[in-house]
């Protein structure tokens, strides 16, 4: 079965730097991969989707890459701000298009 791995250790960076979060998977490459932001006590909020045939997707200060050879997706936040502090989750389409599976998330702390 598909396994999704995100770094369980929190990522601490200084304001203004670029934050890079990693999502690795085993087995098959999903057709779709999503990234979400989750604040404490709240439901996740959708940020970006990238398709299997797309290498990179950008949205404002966010950038997602998808490397099917490495079986990895990277999520970048440039010019990070304290307001970017949250837990970031990646999600993969399952073998059934109706299902997405989530990683455990990586907590990002941006210090002023």
């Amino acid at each position: 079965s598909q396994k999704i791995e995100q770094n369980s250790e929190a990522l601490n960076i200084q304001e203004g730097k670029t934050a890079t979060l990693t999502c690795n998977y085993t087995n098959y490459s999903p057709a779709y991969l999503q990234w979400y932001r989750q604040d404490p006590g709240r439901g996740p909020v959708f940020l970006l989707l990238i398709r299997e045939n797309e290498k990179e997707k950008r949205k404002e200060r966010l950038k997602v890459t998808f490397d099917t050879t490495l079986k990895q997706s990277l999520f970048h936040i440039t010019a990070s701000q304290p307001a970017d502090s949250a837990t970031y989750l990646c999600a993969f389409q399952g073998d059934n298009f109706n299902k997405f599976y989530f990683g455990s998330g990586t907590k990002l702390n941006v210090k002023p």
């Binding site: 779709y32 959708f46 999600a91 989530f102």
Partner: protein
């Protein structure tokens, strides 16, 4: 615009008691609906999903069940809660390529 409502926000229930969590969606028809559970400090575990009225797919055998009595209503139930049922329950619907839209969640504590 589409909105998703989930209630209650918090719930404390004794072991062995029944459970009913309700989720409704507005502004869309025939949505795919989902129940996820998140244990403390963990990722989201897919519990059930539904592609239409009366159609329920279960991901993990457990003490819970789901029903979809109406197009935009999704209910999560249990006849007898266990301590291990504690967690943060999230209802969601998928908006095509724009990802899931999640409800605000229910924090369930079984005591």
């Amino acid at each position: 615009s589409q909105t998703i409502h989930q209630w209650p926000a918090t719930l404390v229930q004794p072991v062995g008691s029944p459970l009913s969590l309700e989720c409704t969606v507005e502004g869309t028809s025939n949505p795919n609906l989902y129940w996820y559970r998140q244990a403390a400090g963990r990722g989201l575990q897919l519990l059930f999903y539904s592609v239409g009225i009366g159609q329920i797919s279960s991901e993990v055998p457990q003490n819970l069940s789901a029903s979809r009595p109406q197009d935009r209503q999704f209910i999560l139930s249990s006849k007898k809660l266990l301590l291990s049922d504690s967690g943060f329950y999230l209802c969601a619907w998928i908006a095509g390529p724009y990802g899931y839209t999640f409800g605000s969640g229910t924090r369930l504590t079984v005591v």
